[in-house]
Amino acid sequence: MPREDMIMPQLGESVAEGTILKWLKKVGDNVAYDEMILEISTDKIDSEIPAPIAGVLAEILVEEGDTVPVRTVIARIETDISQPSSVSIPVGEDQCVLPESKVDTLLNDVAISENKGEHTGPPLQSKRTQRFFSPLVKRIAKENNISLEELENISGSGVGGRINRQDIEKYIASSSASSGEVTKVVPMDSMRKTIAKHMVASKKISPHVMSVHEVDMSAIVAWREQWKDHFYKKHGFKLTYTPIVLHCVVQALKEFPWINASIQGDNVIEHRNIHLSMAVALKDGGLIVPVIKNAQHKNLINLCQSVQELSEKSRNKKLVMSDLEGGTFTVTNAGVFGTIMGYPIINQPQVAILAMNAIVKRPVVVDGDAIAIRSMMYFNMSYDHRIVDGMMAGRFLQRLCQLIAEFDVSGEP
C-alpha cells in the first residue's frame, strides 16, 4: 500500500517554519480526505491542517511542540487508492509545495512540468498549479509580484472557489505593497518572539521622531456620556473614543497622503486606501494589531462596529490572516491604561503611528486669560523622518485636533 508524504505547509509569504501544536489524530487512525488532523503555529497565524488524502495515519514524524522548516515531511498517510505520484510537485528552492487539498482528476492526465530551479522569466508561466487562474488574474499577480504559491492560498469567491479579479485585488489591497517585512503579531509564545524581532527591526529601519499635540475633548466627552446608552441599545455595540478619533484620523489622512504611505527604495508609495491598524492589547499579555480595511468608506457607526468586532475577534483568537495585513496607518490607545503620553514604535512598513492617551481633567487657559477645567488628551505621533518632517507631522496633528474640536456633537451619533 502506498504511503503519501504530508509536509509542513507554508501559510504565507516569508514564513519559513512552523510548530506542531497538536496532533488531532494518532497513528493508526483513519483519516478522511480533508479532515483536520493537526494544528500548527507560525509567526503569522495558527491554523488547522487537513489531511491531503484519505487513508490511515501511518507515521507521525514530528512531535507536538517541535518546530520544523516548511516542506519538511511531518507525517505519512497510507492509502489504498493508488494515486499518481503527483502529490508533491517538483519545485525549486524558493518555491514551496502545499498539501493537496484536492486531487484534480485533470492532474492525472497532464504531465507535470519540471521546475528548473531559479526563475528567470515571469513566475507564473508554464507552471503546474492545482487551481485554474484566469489570464486576467495571472497578469494582475505578475504585475504585483504575487507568486504562484500565494495565489494558491488566496480564497476565491468565484464559481468553484475560483479567484476572480475582485478576490486578487482585495488580496493586494490587504497585503503590503513593498517586499519588506510586515509587522504582524500573532498570539502565543511565538507571538512574543515575533513582536520582539519586529520592534527591533522597526527602530533600525525608521529614524523615529515624535510630535505631541493636545486637544480639548470636553465636548466629545459630554456628548458621548449623553448618547452612549442609547447608542448601545440601538446598535448592539459601543460608542467609544477610539472610533471617534479614528473618524477624524481618516479625514486628516486624506489630506496628508504622505502619512498614509510606505517607502520602497527611493519611492514613496502613497496608498489610496486607508486601512487603519488598531492596536489591541490582549488579556494574557501580548499585542495584536488588526486592520480596519477601507476606513475611508466607513462612517462613525461603521467604525464603532469595526472597532468592537476586531477587538472581540482579537480576544477570541478569531482573527484571520487578512485581518492582520495591509494596514497603512496605526492608532494605539494607551489611554485605557492611564498613560498620558507615550512613544510608540512605528508599525512597519507604515511611516507613522498615532497614540491617543488618557483623557484627564486639567486646568487650562481659555477665552483669553481665564482658567477652566477641561478634559484634555495628548495625541503623540511617532513618524519616520525619512519622509515625514516635523512640519508635516505638526500640521497633520494640528488638523486632527481641529477635526476633533469641530466634531459634530449637536445631535445623535
Binding site: S134, P135, L136, V137, K138, R139, V159, R162, N164, R165
Partner: protein, 323 residues
C-alpha cells in the same frame, strides 16, 4: 425627430437621392408598388422611372447591373427583396464586386440593401441573417444597424462610400422600434462601433436585431445589480476592435449576442480576436448567444425556441458576472 427604423431608412434614401442625381434604386417591385415593405413608396413619383427601376426576378442581374453602373460612376442602391435571396447574386457579389478594385483599380460604389432577420413567423426563406457569409470576403463592407439613427446615418455613409457595401436592415425593427434621429441627412462613419450603454461588470457585444433584446436584458440585470456595458458593433466590416477592446479590458467578461446562427456566425470571429488581443484581461470565457444551428423553423413557438431571447441573455450574463 422621432421616427421608425423603416422611416429612418426612407429618409436616408430621400436625402441622398435629392442630394446626388446619380444615386438610383433598382430592385423588384420597388417602383409603382413601393416595395414589398412599402419602403420606397413615393420614390417613383419624385424621382422618375430612370432612377427607380423595377427589375425582373434576377438577383444576379440586379447585383451585376448595379456593379456595371457603379463602374461608370453612378451610385446604385440595389435591393434584395429578402436577404435570403441574396444567394442568387452571390457570384456577382463575391467574385465581381468585391474584387474589382483590388484587381484593376476600379471602385464599385454600390449598396445592396437586404431586409433580413426573423421573429415574424416568416419561415426558413424569409427570415435569415446572411451577413456572416460576406464578412469573410475581402473587399466588401458589411453594415448592420440596430436603431433608427444608425440605420439612417449608416445608409447615407454606405451610399457615399466608394466600396460595395452590404446593408442588412432588420425587418422586425422596421416598425417595432421608434427613436430619435437627430442628424437627418448626415452620415455616420462606417467602421465605428457604439457604446450603447456604459457598464462595469460585463460587456455584451451585439448588433442588428438583437440590440433591443440586449437592452432589455441590461435593464433587468441592473435590477439584480449587475452592470452590463453594451457595445453595438453597427458595422461588422470594417470591424472596430478598439472600442471592443477598451470595453473588454475594463469589464474582463464578454458575452456576444447575435441573431445569426451560432456556427460560423460573426461572434466566432469576434471571440477569436478578443481571445487573441485581450487574453490577459479575461476573467471568464468569452460566451456567445446565437440562434440554434438549424434552418429557421416556421411555427411561431419553434421559431422562438430557435432564436435568442432576453431570458437567455440574462442567464448567460449572470453566470459570467459571478464566474
Amino acid at each position: 425627430m422621432t421616427m421608425t427604423y423603416l422611416n429612418a431608412i426612407r429618409e436616408a434614401l430621400f436625402a441622398e437621392m435629392r442630394r446626388d442625381k446619380e444615386v438610383f434604386l433598382l430592385g423588384q417591385d420597388i417602383a409603382a408598388y413601393g416595395g414589398a415593405f412599402k419602403l420606397t413608396k413615393g420614390f417613383l413619383e419624385e424621382f422618375g422611372k430612370e432612377r427607380v427601376i423595377d427589375t425582373p426576378i434576377a438577383e444576379s442581374a440586379i447585383v451585376g447591373a448595379a456593379i456595371g453602373a457603379a463602374l461608370m460612376g453612378l451610385k446604385p442602391v440595389a435591393e434584395m427583396q429578402f436577404s435570403d435571396f441574396i444567394v442568387g447574386g452571390f457570384n456577382q457579389i463575391v467574385n465581381m464586386a468585391a474584387k474589382c478594385h483590388y484587381r484593376w483599380g476600379a471602385a464599385v460604389p454600390m449598396v445592396i440593401r437586404c431586409p433580413s432577420g426573423g421573429g415574424m413567423g416568416a419561415g426558413p426563406f424569409h427570415s435569415q441573417n446572411p451577413e456572416a457569409w460576406f464578412t469573410r470576403v475581402p473587399g466588401l463592407k458589411v453594415v448592420c444597424p440596430g436603431i433608427p439613427s444608425d440605420a439612417h446615418g449608416l445608409l447615407i455613409a454606405a451610399i457615399r462610400d466608394p466600396n460595395p457595401v452590404l446593408y442588412f436592415e432588420h425587418k422586425f425593427l422596421y416598425r417595432h422600434i421608434k427613436e430619435e434621429v437627430l442628424a437627418i441627412g448626415e452620415p455616420i462613419e462606417l467602421g465605428k462601433a457604439r457604446v450603447d450603454r456604459v457598464g462595469s461588470d460585463l460587456t455584451i457585444i451585439t448588433y442588428g436585431g438583437t440590440l433591443r433584446l440586449v437592452r432589455e436584458a441590461a435593464e433587468r440585470l441592473q435590477e439584480n445589480e449587475i452592470s452590463a456595458e453594451i457595445i453595438d458593433l453597427r458595422t461588422l466590416i470594417p470591424l472596430d476592435m478598439d472600442t471592443v477592446s477598451i470595453s473588454v479590458r475594463k469589464t474582463n467578461r464578454v458575452l456576444i449576442v447575435h441573431e445569426d446562427t451560432l456556427t460560423g456566425g460573426f461572434g466566432g470571429e469576434l471571440s477569436a480576436r478578443i481571445a487573441e488581443y485581450d487574453f490577459e484581461y479575461l476573467d471568464a470565457p468569452v460566451k456567445r448567444i446565437a440562434s440554434l444551428d438549424t434552418p429557421i423553423p416556421f411555427a411561431r413557438n419553434l421559431e422562438q425556441a430557435f432564436m435568442p431571447d432576453t431570458d437567455q441573455i440574462c442567464v448567460a450574463a449572470q453566470e459570467l458576472a459571478v464566474y
